[in-house]
Amino acid sequence: MNRLIIEPSFKTPAIDFDGETGILSIRGRVFPENPFQYFSPLTAWLTDYSSLPSKETILIFSLSYFNSTANEYLFRCAKMIESLVSQGHNGKIVWEFESDDDDMKQIGEDFKELLKIKFDLKAIN
């Protein structure tokens, strides 16, 4: 499985999807000009990965900002990992947020409540 690495920009996050280790991370800000276009390679990669996933999959969100449209696409990525777990694979989501960022913590709590998957909320300094 190819590793998907996308460098960050002011409006887009650093992506590192490692199919060998199963550690998939999205870090930074997410408000791309065209969310559909931006997220298409990510969801395509996840679809391919789902056919032969690693022993354990960990999707890490470490986000400082995302807009309402990106929110929907991020949730879709999380649902794809939930779907893997529902098929019997091991997986979890880690939601990192700055310890003084209540908004990001609360949106993480929303995701956690909506997803049937192990979900760690992790405050970072």
Binding site: F10, F31, N71, D110, L114
Partner: protein, 162 residues
């Protein structure tokens, strides 16, 4: 604190793209010298309102996003938009529905699931829901519309230390 403010004025002559506007909003917000929590809130609410302005604005008319920190240490985020009537009707309906809903969080989560399940078909506006989620609805101060011309006025306000 002395009053400080900045604004983004959208007009037919405005050549600024989305990236330039967001960088301007980010830099100007930092220049206000507020606590980081306030900076985050201004940027998050400001970006949603800016994107609303861009998508709803009548192309030949003006749109304005203005951020002010007044002398009593309150932040005000205001957007004024000349927009198409049908957009204004939808925004008004959405605003009153959000304002009257008992729980912004439940409303936000339900909408998120609906949009995700529709797999891109439900392209309805999610920006106001997001603003309500971030602003815990109590900061949403005012929605006003006028007809002829069709104008939406939205205002958020919160103390700088909250």
């Amino acid at each position: 604190m002395k009053e400080k403010s900045f604004q983004i004025l959208l007009s037919k002559d405005d050549k600024r793209n989305d990236s330039q506007a967001s960088e301007y909003l980010d830099n100007q917000t930092k220049n206000l010298g507020l606590p980081i929590a306030s900076q985050r809130k201004i940027f998050r609410i400001g970006m949603e309102l800016y994107q609303n302005l861009v998508s709803h604005r009548h192309p030949n008319h003006l749109g304005l996003l203005r951020i002010t920190v007044d002398s009593s240490d309150k932040v005000r985020i205001v957007s004024i938009n000349f927009c198409r009537k049908e957009k204004l009707d939808l925004a008004e309906k959405k605003f009153f529905s959000l304002r009257d809903s008992k729980d912004a969080r439940i409303n936000f989560m339900r909408k998120l699931v609906e949009k995700t399940d529709s797999n891109g078909k439900n392209q309805g506006d999610f920006g106001l829901d997001f603003c309500f989620r971030y602003s815990k609805e109590k900061y949403f101060k005012k929605f006003t519309r006028s007809n002829s011309p069709d104008i939406i006025y939205l205002a958020f306000s919160f103390p700088i230390d909250e």
